[in-house]
């Protein structure tokens, strides 16, 4: 799969409290969650997400609370992909389990600029920055985790497994 879109860039330690503040966790409605996504970090996120669908961040993206509402809010905001140098472990699990593609790339995290246009080839494991002409490698994700994402998430994966037992 190839994803081609523009970048919204954030820094280190973007936590789940700013991805979706707890005051909005009295619902599981994805559109409602999306309407408050990143509002305490970047009041222009919603506007940006209309034309830019890839988030690139630094270290420890998604640290803090285990709220799965965070990847759900990001997905429902139209974001197709999150690239970071590292992810907090619960966020990483939640993103995999809800089939939000998450990629680890130190080089891209350090060099891609806000607004750049990327072409990401998930099979080849390559990120082409069309704005700067540079190419970056994606850290390989274990086959088991890829299988969960390609099944459409952990629920579908589990249903398949239970069906085959």
């Amino acid at each position: 799969m190839i994803i081609r879109d523009k970048v919204i860039k954030y820094g280190n330690d973007v936590n789940t409290d700013v991805i979706i503040p707890a005051r909005y966790l009295n619902t599981t409605n994805e559109e409602e969650l999306a309407s408050h996504c990143f509002e305490d970090l970047d009041e222009n996120f919603k506007q940006k997400a209309l034309t830019r669908k890839i988030i690139v961040a630094g270290d420890n993206f998604g640290c803090g609370s285990s709220r799965e509402h965070a990847p759900l809010a990001i997905k429902a905001s139209g974001i197709k992909l999150v690239i970071a140098r590292t992810f907090a472990r619960i966020f990483f699990r939640n993103a995999v389990n809800t089939a939000l593609p998450v990629l680890l790339s130190k080089e891209a995290s350090e060099n891609v600029n806000d607004g750049d246009e990327l072409e990401v080839d998930l099979e080849m494991g390559l990120i082409n920055d069309l704005t700067t002409g540079k190419t970056y490698k994606i850290n390989q994700i274990p086959a088991f985790i890829q299988e969960i994402i390609s099944s459409g998430g952990y629920i579908n994966y589990t249903k398949k497994k239970l069906g085959s037992l």
Binding site: D13, A22, S65, S66, R89, I90, L162
Partner: protein, 416 residues
């Protein structure tokens, strides 16, 4: 230690860091924020019953007692699921406590258990020698349906604590200091093993506090070996047999830190990261609007006792709000019987029924724009306790109680 527990739970002799395994879990838990989503996902899987009605724990504690209509509806959704599934351990308002204080108190987690909870602070139970970690709602749904979950086996970091603790210093100060030392991702994906003579001297309450905040350094587990204090704590609580694990003498650690506790002062973590830790004395000119003593981190008996020793017979500073939240009904009752609650009320503090409430900016003490709190909770991210332009300083109970009297960040010596 965590690797051994994981190996035992997937029928393997030995596991190494990085292995991906499907392991049997002993307990699955969730709350009124994460469980509604987990139940929706559970229903999609197509199994009719949870794997074991005695091993699923549901605690409405975050926005309960219901803070608004939507929260009331989420809690009702949980209650109905618990009724339909005949969940043994559903704890209603009036019997509930903050999950990570309540669940050990009820003897539901035991040494050697593998526990997953749809709450990041599930790592708290490592204080009992369990491998226990926070997961998301989909993970909780699959674990409820199958009694198993996928895990990546973590590497381990050893933290050795030596030396005598200074007066008023507790587990909170040790863990804030540690997070300050290694950073909010200093133990990313790692199991944090807390060992050494100073750990042996800590109360169980302080040990829970330390393991509770492993996640604040990115840790998967925070774990302490079972000793005589653990066994004593479990004595009238454990309803089943348990297994004690010890780290092998020749085990390889990713890293080892040797920490001299005699040099650790009372700590405060400044906004907006728990790793912004430093000496509380250096924050003494910082004025505050609110003090919170409570949460899954510091709402236990030791914390209330320290607050009582500092607050008794004194008045809280004019125009600041002091909110004290015993973490469970049992703790509340014990504090009442010891006269702590009376002393808190006479000092001018508000005392609340157990709830996570203000810790995550839910209810029971939200901050307005520009306001500042000192709090014994676990996170001080932007907007954590209310308005995105409010601030949270983290501390242990001694600094929080002293600050309540001073109206600014203070250490106990200043108010005696």
């Amino acid at each position: 230690m965590a690797q051994k527990i994981l190996a035992e739970h997937c029928g393997q002799e030995y596991l190494k860091a990085g292995d991906l395994v499907n392991a049997r879990v002993d307990l699955v838990l969730g709350n009124d924020i994460t469980m509604p989503l987990a139940i929706e996902e559970f229903k999609k899987i197509g199994v009719s019953k949870v794997f074991n009605k005695d091993r699923v724990v549901i605690v409405p504690d975050h926005f309960a007692p219901n803070k608004d209509i939507k929260s009331a509806e989420q809690c009702r959704f949980l209650r109905r699921f618990a009724e339909n599934q005949k969940i043994t351990n559903y704890f209603e308002v009036g019997k509930m406590g903050i999950e990570h204080a309540l669940i050990p108190e009820m003897g539901l987690v035991l040494p050697g258990d593998l526990v997953v909870g749809a709450d990041s602070h599930t790592c708290t139970y490592g204080a009992l020698g369990a491998a226990s970690t926070g997961v998301g709602s989909t993970d909780a749904a699959v674990a409820m349906a199958t009694g198993t979950l996928w895990f990546m086996v973590p590497d381990s970091i050893k933290f050795i604590y030596r030396g005598l603790l200074k007066p008023w210093v507790t587990g909170k100060d040790l863990i804030l200091y540690t997070i300050g030392l290694i950073g909010v991702d200093g133990a990313l994906y790692m199991s944090m093993e807390f060992v050494g003579p100073a750990i042996k001297t800590l109360s169980m309450d302080s040990r829970f506090t330390m393991c509770n905040m492993a996640i604040e350094a990115g840790g998967k587990f925070g774990i302490i070996e079972v000793d005589e204090k653990t066994e004593k704590y479990l004595k009238n609580k454990a309803g089943r047999d348990y297994k004690k694990y010890k780290a092998d003498a020749d085990v390889h650690y990713y890293k080892t830190y040797d920490i001299d506790c005699s040099k650790i002062d009372l700590q405060v973590s400044a906004p907006h990261l728990p790793s912004n830790a430093g000496n509380a004395r250096d924050c003494r000119n910082i004025k505050i609007d609110q003090v919170v003593i409570g949460s899954c981190t510091n709402g236990r008996m030791e914390d209330l006792k320290i607050a009582f020793e500092i607050l008794k017979g004194k008045k809280v500073s004019k125009n600041i709000r002091v909110i004290i939240i015993p973490a469970t009904q049992n703790i509340y009752l014990a504090a009442l019987n010891k006269g702590y609650i009376k002393a808190f009320i006479e000092s001018g503090c508000a005392v609340s029924t157990p709830t996570c409430g203000p810790c995550l900016g839910g209810h029971m003490g939200i901050l307005a724009e520009g306001e500042r709190a000192i709090s014994t909770t676990n996170r001080n991210f932007v907007g954590r306790m209310g308005h995105p332009k409010s601030e949270v300083y983290l501390s242990g109970p001694a600094v929080a109680a002293a600050s309540a009297i001073a109206g600014r960040i203070a250490v106990p010596e200043e108010v005696f």
